[in-house]
Every structure is written in C-alpha cells, then in structure tokens.
Amino acid sequence: MSVSEHDLHAYVDGRLDESRRSEIERWLAQHPDAAAEVAGWRQQNDRIRALFSVDAPHADDARRIAGIASSRRAVRLPPGTGAAAAAVALFLLGAAAGVLGTLGLATAPSGVAAVEVLPAAARASYLVYTREVAHPVEVGADEEAHLVSWLGKRLGTEIAAPDLSAEGFRLVGGRLVPFRGAPGALLMYEDASGERLTLLFGRNEDNSDTGFRFASEDRVQTFYWIDGPVGYALSGEVGRERLERISRLVYRQL
C-alpha cells in the first residue's frame, strides 16, 4: 500500500473516507516514526483550535457595518460618470506619482536628515491629499481612537491628534503616507469654509531637536520642527501668521 504525505495530512484533518482512514491507521501502526509525527500534528490542530475560538458578537458591529456601507454609498457616483471619474482618478494617481517621484519620497534618501526632507514631503502630501474630494483620508475622525492607534503603530511611536478647534479647525481624519521610505502619518483638518491643513508626522532617526522652521512655495506654507523621535510639519494656505499660531497650538499639545 502506498501512503503519501497528502494522505497523512488528510488523515489528520479528517478528510478521508472510512475505508481509506482504516488503511492509513493500519499503515501507521507499522510506521511508528510517521505515527508520532501524525499524533503531533493532531495535537497541534486541537491546540490551535482552542487558541482561536469564536468571540461573542460586539455590540457596535451593526453600527460599524452600517457606517462603512453608508460611507461607500455616499461616494458612489451617478451612472454615466464612470469613465470621466476613472480618467480623473488616473490623472490624480499620475499626479501623485509625479509629485512623490520628483521629491524623492518614494525611496529613502540615505544620508539626508529628516529635517531637510520634511518641508518638501509635507508640501507634497498637502497638495495631493487636500485636493481629494471622495477620499481625502483613509480613516475618518469618527474613528479617532482607532486612527491614532493605527498610525502610531505604523510610525512606531504613539501619536495624538491635536485639538485645533480654538483656531476653527476640526479633524477630518488621517492616512498613512511614505516618509523617507518608511511609514509616516498624515492628519487632515478642515475649517467651516472648507480650508484644509495637513499635519505630517515622520520618523526622525537623527539625534537632534530643532526650533520652528518655515518654508514657503507658491501659496503653500509649512511650519516644521523635530521633537525627539518624530518630525512634525504643518502645511496650509492660511497665511504665515495664522499658520504659525496654529503650529504653536499643535506644539503645545504634542
């Protein structure tokens, strides 16, 4: 009788019919090494099943599913706009790739300090994502706790979303962005007029803090600074004075 390894796994997983199973059992009785291995796999199965048992449903599951479903419906486009929307999406993707590529964000520029790439990275993220209508963020402010714990985890350090309501801005949400070839975090804020700000968090390996620095190109202005393991950059088009005021508000809360 020939017994393949496939048979042994199928035996362990209860996938054999009655007659084949008895054949395998007789064969195992004469092959103690194989029998020992198979017994080990069986025990593994039992232990793994015990480890991952089913939880009770969570109380907020229905709300959560309805939330995701309705947010998908909200961005669904009317029929007939499909081709146009696809063209716009392709254009945006191309634009994003272009901006990120030009600024060297796609790969980690070795030997360049975080503080040197922060303003360009912040400006690129700001330009790409604040112009997004359908999906400006990956995770919305309605799930702020999940958002900051997720982004913090990717970034490798805890983060918080500063409260900018004193300046009229509320959190829209956030997303994961590349920063020097590693995960960075981007939070987006919006005021009542639809004006948007982005706050970029990037990992800093250099052992240096900095004070506030300012960069400006076209209308986009950025305040940025390094505080321990993280570099921060706040970008917007709200004027230098107001942006500096908001940056100080951010700094005080981080």
Partner: protein, 166 residues
C-alpha cells in the same frame, strides 16, 4: 440594513476569529477586520454572489499578507510577550504552553499561516483553500506541511522561550 450588510454582520465573529489567527495581537486583528470590511464594501461589485464568507476571508488573507510584507524587518522576538494579549479570559490550559504555541505560529511565513488557519480553524477542504487563494492544491499541501513541521520544530526546540509578564 440591506441583505448583504446583515449577512456580513452575522459573519463578524467568524471574521474576527480569522483575523486573530493571522495577527500578532488584538489591535492588529481589529485593524485587519476594519481594513477588510472597507475593502469588501469598496469591491462588493466584484463579489460573485455566492460564498460570502469565503470571499471575505480571501480579502482578509490578501490584506494580511500585504501588511506583513510592509511590516517585514520588524523584530520578531521583541513582541512575543504580546501573545498574552490574544488570550481569552478563563481559557483552560497551561498559559506558558499557549504562549509558546503562539510564538511558534508568529514565526510562520504569512502564506503558510493563512493556509494552516483556513484548514485547521476555518475547516475548509484543501481544494476550497486552493480555490480561495488561487493557488494549485500542491502548493496548499506544501504550505500546510511546512507550517506543521515548523511549528513542531519550534515547539520541540529550545529556540522559543515564552515571555511572560509577571
């Protein structure tokens, strides 16, 4: 709530279990469930209308693999203590042994881990797993075999020491 949403709601405990079986800790598992739900609703048009659970588990498997790839290089041993976080309260068994099993599972390559969990925990037949993951059945068998041998070796060897919070 429409019919599909109700069906997904009924599957939530199963989705959460599979996410935990692929993840290092509960937070990762919750993130994976959330990402999978969002991907599912974004691609509902791509669902063939049969076997919703299998379709959702396939989405989750793919997302999990991508996530592992992006997390590659992360220290493995530093997080073994996280095994505690997966433990449900009041479960029988030696907690040290459970930690060692989890540590051995965490050492599996993601593609071996998902095949093992689909077969052992989710109860799919080999051919179903091959279909779900769009791989030949021989690949299913070799991944299953490698997963089982790797776990056995790591449990029998001394290269894993369960870390406990005292």
């Amino acid at each position: 709530m429409n019919k599909v949403e109700q069906e997904i709601l009924a599957l939530m405990p199963a989705l959460r279990r599979y996410a935990r079986s692929l993840s290092r800790d509960r937070q990762d598992a919750e993130d994976l469930v959330q990402d999978s739900l969002e991907a599912a609703f974004a691609h509902l048009g791509g669902w063939r209308g049969v076997n919703l659970r299998g379709w959702l588990l396939t989405i989750m498997t793919n997302l999990s693999r991508r996530r592992h790839r992006s997390a590659a290089g992360r220290a493995v041993f530093a997080e073994l203590g996280e095994a505690d976080a997966l433990e449900a309260p009041g479960r029988e068994g030696d907690p040290l042994e459970r930690d060692r099993l989890l540590a051995a599972i965490n050492l599996l390559a993601p593609e071996q881990r998902s095949v093992l969990m689909l077969v052992v925990v989710e109860g799919y037949a080999y051919a179903e797993v091959a279909d779900m993951l769009a791989i030949p059945i021989g690949t299913v068998m070799s991944r299953l075999s490698r997963a089982r041998r790797s776990i056995a070796e790591n449990l029998n060897g001394r290269n894993i020491v369960g870390l406990r919070r005292s």
